[in-house]
Homo-oligomer: 349 residues x 2
DNA sequence: GTCGTCGGTCGAATCGATTCGAGGAGTGGT
DNA sequence: ACCACTCCTCGAATCGATTCGACCGACGAC
C-alpha cells in the first residue's frame, strides 16, 4: 500500500494552498465554485476520499466516536439479546450523525481497562449500570468524557436512560394477584457481586446493588405482595433459568406463579417446570420481563413486560447528541407494556 | 468539565520540557529515574491519565482501532449468535493489545458508508464476506486500510479466515446417507441479492454469490448426493426456518432428512415439522450447522457441524496483529466437528 | 481618478504528542 | 588541566487538518 495521500498533496495537485483545499472540503468559508471544483477534481484524481479523521479530530478535539462500555464480560453482554438490541438501536441512532460506536470491555475490578483510559471518545455509554466502586466511571470522569448511563443508578451526575421497570413489575404482580395467585416465587437477575444460583436470604438482600433487580423487587412491596421465595440466577440465560426454576419449583409446596426478571430466565423456568412434570399454566404460571420475541416457545407465548429496546437505544443516542451539543439532557424513563401470553392463568382451585 | 490537561501542562508542572515528559510516559529513550518520577508525580497531581490517543495517533499514524464492518443491517448481525460469538472472540483477541473494536455499519449498495470512508482504523474486518460490487471493500482499499475477511471469497488480495464448511457438510451428508437417507432436503442461508424464502431453481443457482452456501451446496456433490429440494431461507433466524421448513415438508412426499445451513434454521424446521405432525427423528431427521448450544431445544440435541467461534475470532485477531506487524498472513481454514444429536436417525422403513 | 469595499486566496499558528539531533553537565582517564 | 565520553535534557520539526487574520485584485461609487 502506498503512502496515504494528504490534503497537502491534493492542494499541490490543484495548484492551490492547503487552506484553500481545506475550504473546498469543509464547505465553510468563501471559495469560488471554480476553485472548489478544481480541488475536488484533483482529489478524485488522487483517490483522496476526504480529510483524515485523525487530523480533523486533533484540531477539533472531537473524534466522532462513542464508547460503549460493556459489562465485565463482553461475552455475556453480547449473548444477552436485550443489550444487543439496545446497542442496535444506539447504532441506528448515532450512526447517521457520523458517529462510530467503539466497544470497550471493562474489567470488573477497581482498575479501569486500558481502553477506558486511552481510547478516543467524545462520550461514553455505560450500558449495564456503573456499579459504585468500579473504576470505570471515575476514569471517564477524570478524562472529561461525558457519560450516559443505561439503567444505571441515578444521582451519579450523569443522565440515566431507563425504563419504568418498577411500574411494569407492579402491574404484572397485580395481574397475577387478580388471577388469584397468592404464592408467588421470584427469579431475579444477578444481584451483583459474585455470580451464583441460590435463594436470596436477608443477608444477601443487604448487599443489593443492582438497580433493576432492586426496582423489580421493590415493586412487589408496592403491590403488597410478599414472595414465597426469591432465587437469584447466575446470569440472564436459559440455562440459568432452568437451574433457578428447579430450586424454586422442586419443593414440597411450590409457588403457583413464578415471576422472573428476564424472558430468558422465564424460558428456563418453563423447561424446569416441564421437567418436574408441572404443566404451564395449569399447575404453575410463569411470567418474564423484556418482551423478547422467542419464536421457539411457540405455540406458547410468554406473559411478559415489554420494554422498547430500540427506543432505549435511540434515547441514549439522543442524550449523547444533546451532550455533544453542549446541553445537559434530563433523565429518561421509558414506558413498558404488560403483554399477556399463554403462560399465565388462574391457579388450580 | 474543565479544560483537558495536556502533556505540556504536566511538563510545566514538573519543570521539564515537553519532550522529557513524553519520554517519561513512552518509556523509550534515556531518562533518569528521578526526573521520570517527578513527571509522573506531577501527572498524578493534575489527574493526567496518560498521553491522549489523538495526539499519539496523529504522530504514529496508528489509531489503535480495528473496524468491524457489519453486514447491511447491524440488527441482523447482532441477532445472529454466530457473528456475535465470533465478534466476541475477536474482541478477546485484540483487546489485550490495546486495540478497540469499532462497529461500522455498511450500506448494502454501491456507495460505502460515511464511516467506512472516514473513521480512523488501522485495519478492518469484513465479517460477512465482501460481496463483489459492494463499494465497501474498494473504499477501504483506496484508503489503504488493510482488510481481513471473515468467510469472504478468496482471491481478493486479503487474508481470509474461514472454516472447513465444505468438508464438514460432506461428513454430515455421508453420515445421513449411512443412516439410510436418500431423500435429502436442504435449507440454505440467504444466497445473496434480495432476501426471500423460496425454492432454489436453476435460475437462482446461476446467481449464487454467497460462499458459505456455495461450499455447503457443493459438498452435496462431493458426497454424490442430489438434494430432492433446496429452499432458500430469508435469514438465519428461527422464524425463517419455520417458513422454509413448511415449504420443504408440507408436500406430498417430503424428504426423510433435512440439512440446514444454520442451527437456528434447523430449530425452525423442527417447529415446522412438529406443526405438520411429523415426529423428529422418526418421520424426518433434521441437522443444523454451527454447533450452537440451544438449551431450549432440550431434551432434544441438534445434530450439527460445530465450528469454533472463539477460535475464529481469535484467528481474525491474529491476522490483524500480523498485518499491523507488517507481515502478510496466510488464509486460515479452521476445522469443524460433526456432532451427532438426537434429531437424526435412520428413516422409517 | 481615487478610494472604499468585498470576495477570494494564502500564511501561519494551532491541536497533542513523538522523535531525532544538538547541546550541556558531569565524570574518568591521561 | 584538558580532552573524550557518557548520560540526560531540551528545542524543533513533524503528523494532517482547521481557522483566523492578512493580503490582493477587481469593481462600484463619488
Amino acid at each position: 500500500m502506498t503512502e496515504r495521500t494528504t490534503l497537502a498533496d491534493v492542494a499541490a495537485a490543484a495548484g492551490v494552498s492547503v487552506s484553500t483545499a481545506s475550504l473546498a472540503f469543509s464547505g465553510a468559508g468563501p471559495i469560488s465554485a471554480a476553485t472548489k471544483q478544481r480541488v475536488l477534481d484533483a482529489a478524485a484524481e488522487l483517490g483522496y476520499t476526504g480529510p483524515s479523521a485523525l487530523g480533523r479530530s486533533l484540531r477539533s478535539g472531537r473524534s466522532g466516536i462513542v464508547g460503549v462500555v460493556i459489562g465485565d464480560q463482553l461475552r455475556r453482554s453480547f449473548r444477552d439479546p436485550v443489550s444487543v438490541q439496545v446497542l442496535d438501536g444506539l447504532v441506528d441512532s448515532v450512526g447517521p450523525q457520523g458517529l462510530g460506536v467503539l466497544l470497550v470491555p471493562a474489567t470488573g475490578g477497581e482498575a479501569a481497562d486500558p481502553l477506558v483510559e486511552t481510547a478516543p471518545m467524545d462520550a461514553a455509554v455505560l450500558l449495564f449500570g456503573a456499579r459504585r466502586g468500579e473504576g470505570t466511571f471515575e476514569a471517564l470522569r477524570r478524562r472529561g468524557v461525558p457519560v450516559v448511563l443505561g439503567e444505571g443508578p441515578r444521582g451519579l451526575d450523569a443522565p440515566v436512560v431507563g425504563i419504568a421497570d418498577r411500574e411494569g413489575t407492579r402491574r404484572l404482580v397485580e395481574y397475577l394477584r387478580e388471577l388469584g395467585h397468592s404464592r408467588i416465587g421470584v427469579v431475579t437477575l444477578p444481584l451483583g457481586g459474585e455470580r451464583r444460583c441460590a435463594p436470596v436470604d436477608a443477608a444477601r438482600m443487604a448487599e443489593l446493588d443492582c438497580p433493576p433487580a432492586e426496582h423489580r423487587l421493590a415493586a412487589l412491596d408496592d403491590a403488597g405482595v410478599v414472595p414465597t421465595a426469591v432465587v437469584e440466577a447466575s446470569a440472564s440465560l436459559v440455562e440459568a433459568g432452568v437451574e433457578a426454576g428447579r430450586v424454586l419449583l422442586d419443593v414440597a409446596d411450590p409457588p403457583t406463579a413464578v415471576l422472573t426478571h428476564s424472558d430468558l430466565l422465564a424460558a428456563g423456568v418453563l423447561i424446569a417446570a416441564r421437567d418436574l412434570g408441572l404443566r404451564v399454566p395449569e399447575d404453575v404460571s410463569v411470567a418474564g420481563f423484556d418482551g423478547l420475541n422467542l419464536p421457539w416457545l411457540a405455540p406458547d407465548v410468554l406473559t411478559s413486560v415489554a420494554q422498547p429496546f430500540a427506543a432505549k437505544g435511540a434515547a441514549i443516542g439522543d442524550a449523547i447528541t444533546a451532550i455533544l451539543a453542549g446541553e445537559t439532557p434530563a433523565d429518561v424513563e421509558l414506558e413498558v407494556e404488560l403483554r399477556i401470553g399463554t403462560t399465565t392463568a388462574p391457579p388450580r382451585a
